[in-house]
């Protein structure tokens, strides 16, 4: 694991913290699942159902989007919620990230 240097500039310094906080609360973060050739399709569907509480049909739509188009935007959330979902998906070893919209 690559070592991470301690940041000398703390988040928020030199910026308007309220603005930062507001940005984080806005649903401006996309939770994306990326395709890979190893995760089983049924497994991906199952994980979407468990993590998002979706019905099987909706989970399959997103799974097929990942499979056919290389990725699927699963949800658009605040920073905190997006992080939560990415953590959940990665606990199941899915290739998921959060990106700014």
């Amino acid at each position: 694991m690559a070592a991470t240097a301690t940041p000398e500039v703390r988040p928020g310094i030199g910026r308007d913290e309220k603005t930062d906080s507001q940005t984080e609360r806005e649903p401006g973060y996309l939770v994306i699942c990326w395709n890979d050739p190893v995760n089983l399709m049924d497994y991906v569907t199952h994980v979407f159902q468990v993590v998002f509480g979706w019905k099987r049909q909706k989970a399959e739509v997103h799974m097929l989007q990942v499979h056919n188009q290389g990725k699927s935007v699963l949800t658009r959330e605040s920073m905190e919620k997006a992080e939560f979902y990415v953590h959940q998906l990665q606990q199941y070893s899915l290739h998921a990230t959060m990106e700014r919209d």
Partner: protein, 159 residues
């Protein structure tokens, strides 16, 4: 290995002794993926992002420790298994199947990474040598057990 019946919130599987040995062989390998393998974002690079990445790795490490404890408990006790006249029965709750799925997928993905992350559709074929065969076998074994559990879950729940 197959699902025999659902008993309240528990699922009862019939499993042969060789299958149990293979399942344990796969479980003993956990974990194979390093926490640094997972990235919070593909694009964002900032001090805050580094901190969030660190938190992600901490969270995954904590979850992994819980799974590792569960694996040790399953390997070390016979509570989940019941010997019958003709076979073994494995009884699991749904939460237990969830952590087993996480563990099995970690081993599957970890074996794939050990194979060099092959992706034939992208022109990166499997390269087989003696060591690769072992990883390939583990990857496929983990996947086979995953499918048994997934089929059992989807067949036993109202949709």
């Amino acid at each position: 290995m197959k699902l025999l019946r659902t008993k309240r919130d528990k699922l009862v599987f019939e499993i042969s002794l060789p299958e149990k040995r293979l399942l344990f062989e796969v479980l003993r390998l956990y974990p194979l993926i390093t926490t640094a393998h997972h990235r919070l974002s593909k694009t964002a690079r900032s001090a805050k992002q580094d901190e969030n990445q660190r938190l992600l790795e901490e969270s995954l490490t904590a979850q992994r420790e819980v799974n590792r404890k569960n694996v040790r408990a399953m390997l070390g006790q016979t509570g989940h298994f019941e010997t019958t006249a003709s076979s073994l029965h494995l009884t699991l709750s749904r939460p237990e199947i969830e952590w087993l799925l996480q563990v099995l997928n970690d081993v599957r993905i970890g074996s794939w990474i050990a194979l060099g992350s092959p992706d034939p559709e992208q022109g990166k074929p499997f390269v087989f040598d003696e060591k690769a065969v072992t990883h390939f076998r583990t990857m496929e074994l983990a996947g086979a057990f995953q499918m048994v559990f997934l089929n059992a879950l989807s067949g036993s729940q109202a949709t």
